[in-house]
């Protein structure tokens, strides 16, 4: 069963004071996220990621279309008891301590009061905030706030977890911890839907991703699938420090190391480049394809080319 079904969800805002002009934040979006997968929602800032998430959380009302989470309506309280949400750059009641904050959220989520204290402590431990249990949130660093945010999202053991830019503001250590936490969540059978503009994180974690730009879906699929369709690059290494003119004219990246030169050119120019090296009678050492990164795919999607939306 699809954990999250987005059925034509769209949002148009009216902007301007007198003559209201419509501004389309999200074109009708169709997506299905499967149970137990880690799904990445990628796009630059202002692409419509947060708008989509807010609509799913019931904070903003769609202009059209709908969605279901765990088969239930977006305003169903039974559904809300089974999801967790971490908003972007979260801020919490800073006069509360970490324990008080989680206790409050637990009460609102309907966690049984007898189990609540234990759950609060174990969640704080899990996100690495055990030492700050009784510290007021006003004294938390950005990284600590992010952890507190994750804590409140998972405290009540939800089936689906929504994270908006979970790595933002974290140092590399913090990011690694969050990544491993997300992997743990998947191991527990939870579905994780997170939005980000840091592609390396998505690449490392996600089973599938969707790319969105200017309110429109540009592509959906498994990371491997998506990157396979994109023209890649090859790396050519030869003996010598001179660069053939033909290669230079391709505008390729070149590095000289010792007495070898490496050049990275796009796949389509591979043959021409090899030919150029031989003509200069330079000794070809290796020709290796460079792995296509998600970034290449991403940048390709963001070019305003008339591409069809790849639907599943």
């Amino acid at each position: 069963m699809a954990a999250i079904e987005i059925l034509g969800l769209e949002k148009t805002y009216s902007v301007g004071f007198w003559r209201k002009r419509p501004k389309r934040a999200l074109h009708p979006l169709h997506l299905a996220i499967e149970d137990g997968e880690i799904f990445g929602f990628l796009g630059p800032n202002g692409a419509g990621k947060t708008t989509t998430l807010k609509m799913l959380m019931g904070l903003v009302f769609p202009s059209g279309g709908g969605a279901r989470i765990l088969g239930m309506d977006l305003d169903d309280p039974r559904m809300k008891a089974q999801i967790g949400f971490l908003p972007e750059q979260p801020y919490f009641y800073d006069y509360l301590t970490a324990r008080e904050l989680l206790t409050y959220y637990g009460q609102l989520s309907g966690v049984d009061s007898r189990q609540l204290p234990r759950k609060v402590d174990s969640t704080l431990e899990r996100v690495g905030l055990r030492d700050a249990t009784d510290v007021q949130l006003r004294k938390f660093s950005k990284g600590m706030l992010q952890r507190a945010g994750i804590a409140q999202a998972i405290l009540h053991d939800p089936k689906v977890v929504f994270l908006d830019e979970p790595m933002s503001g974290l140092d590399p250590m913090g990011r690694r911890e969050v990544r491993s936490l997300i992997e743990q969540l998947k191991a527990e059978g939870k579905t994780v839907f997170f939005s980000t503009h840091i592609l390396s994180d998505a690449e490392a974690l996600c089973d599938r991703v969707a790319v969105i730009n200017l309110g429109q879906l540009r592509g959906v699929g498994a990371v491997a699938e998506l990157t396979s369709g994109v023209r890649g690059k090859v790396e050519i290494v030869w003996q010598g420090t001179s660069v053939p003119a033909a290669i230079k004219s391709l505008g390729a990246e070149t590095h000289v190391a010792g007495d070898t030169t490496r050049a990275i050119i796009s796949e389509q120019h591979q043959d021409a480049a090899i030919e150029a090296v031989r003509r200069e009678t330079l000794r070809l050492i290796s020709v290796t394809p460079v792995r296509v990164s998600l970034e290449d795919y991403f940048m390709a999607q963001l070019k305003p080319s008339p591409e069809e939306v790849v639907a599943r």
């Binding site: 309506d73 977006l74 305003d75 169903d76």
Partner: protein
């Protein structure tokens, strides 16, 4: 999203119901508290303190108290009059809050000094109020008129003349003040003086209640004149026919009258034995001194209403 629709419907229904119910309650509460805002005037032990507490908005507060004065007088007047016990405290507060509000003194001059049921019957307070007004507004000739009027009404003709004289010395004073000052001295009690006074009041005031009051006085003067004239004619009849006329018809036949005489309210005068003339409806003609039926007592005093 049926759930949100149900909540919206419930909220709208609650809103409409509770708003309607609270409005009905307001109406009831207003009834219970009908004199509450007016009684507040009695609790203000220090008008000066109230003025300071109003933090510079004393003008607005004075306006609010002034509306209370008008409403208080209007309501009591409609109910047939009384002692207007709260009139002095209310007027005093209004004057202290905004001494430049001259209608206060005009109103007080007329209705504080008039006797119940037309006013509060406190001429000394009326004088006190208007003299305060004169101290605060020394260039206003109309206040001297109001002061003189109170004295005139109390038959202190010399004090009235004095007030009119002082007022007439102001640069923009109405010429009538000089005239009245002169008349007061010699002919204070004359009907002609009274007619001049009330006509001036009627023409110069823009207050509805004051003008109505002046009109009633002018009518009373007319009645007094009529009755005097008619009784004189009855004497003439007696001289001629050795007996008093039995009815006005007799006097018409005798050529002394052209028709049955009618008072300013449109009702016929009545001729009593002994050549006395009375009015048919004394309740509609307050202030008359002549033409009252013998043993007449104003009916609202008879009703013994609780004095307010």
């Amino acid at each position: 999203m049926k759930r949100t629709q149900r909540i919206a419907a419930a909220a709208s229904a609650t809103l409409v119901f509770s708003l309607a119910a609270s409005t009905l309650l307001l109406w009831r509460i207003d009834q219970i508290r009908s004199t509450a805002t007016l009684d507040e005037a009695l609790y203000v032990t220090s008008p000066k303190l109230l003025k300071r507490l109003s933090l510079g908005y004393d003008g607005l507060l004075a306006d609010i108290y002034w509306t209370r004065v008008v409403q208080y007088y209007g309501a009591m007047h409609r109910d047939g009059g009384g002692e207007y016990k709260l009139l002095w405290p209310l007027l005093n507060l209004t004057a202290q809050l905004d001494p430049k509000l001259t209608r206060t003194y005009e109103f007080g001059g007329t209705f504080l000094s008039s006797k119940p049921p037309m006013g509060a019957g406190l001429p000394d307070r009326a004088v006190e109020l208007v003299e305060y007004g004169i101290r605060e507004n020394p260039d206003n000739w109309h206040l001297y008129y109001d002061l003189g009027f109170i004295h005139y009404d109390q038959k202190n003709y010399s004090a009235a003349a004095d007030a009119f004289l002082r007022g007439s010395e102001l640069p923009n004073a109405h010429p009538v003040l000089k005239m009245l000052a002169a008349r007061m001295a010699e002919h204070g009690g004359d009907i002609e003086t009274a007619r001049m006074m009330w006509t001036t009041t009627y023409e110069d005031s823009s207050d509805k209640d004051i003008r109505e009051n002046a009109l009633l006085h002018l009518r009373a003067l007319k009645v007094d004149q009529d009755v005097t004239a008619l009784e004189h004619l009855a004497e003439v009849y007696k001289q001629k026919f050795k007996v008093f006329p039995l009815s006005f018809r007799d006097m018409v036949v005798a050529g002394l009258l052209k028709g049955i005489p009618v008072d300013p309210t449109g009702h016929e005068y009545k001729l009593e034995p002994g050549g006395k003339v009375i009015v048919s409806n004394p309740d509609d003609l307050p202030f008359i001194v002549k033409g009252l039926p013998p043993g007449y007592v104003p009916s609202d005093i008879l009703k013994s209403k609780p004095a307010k």
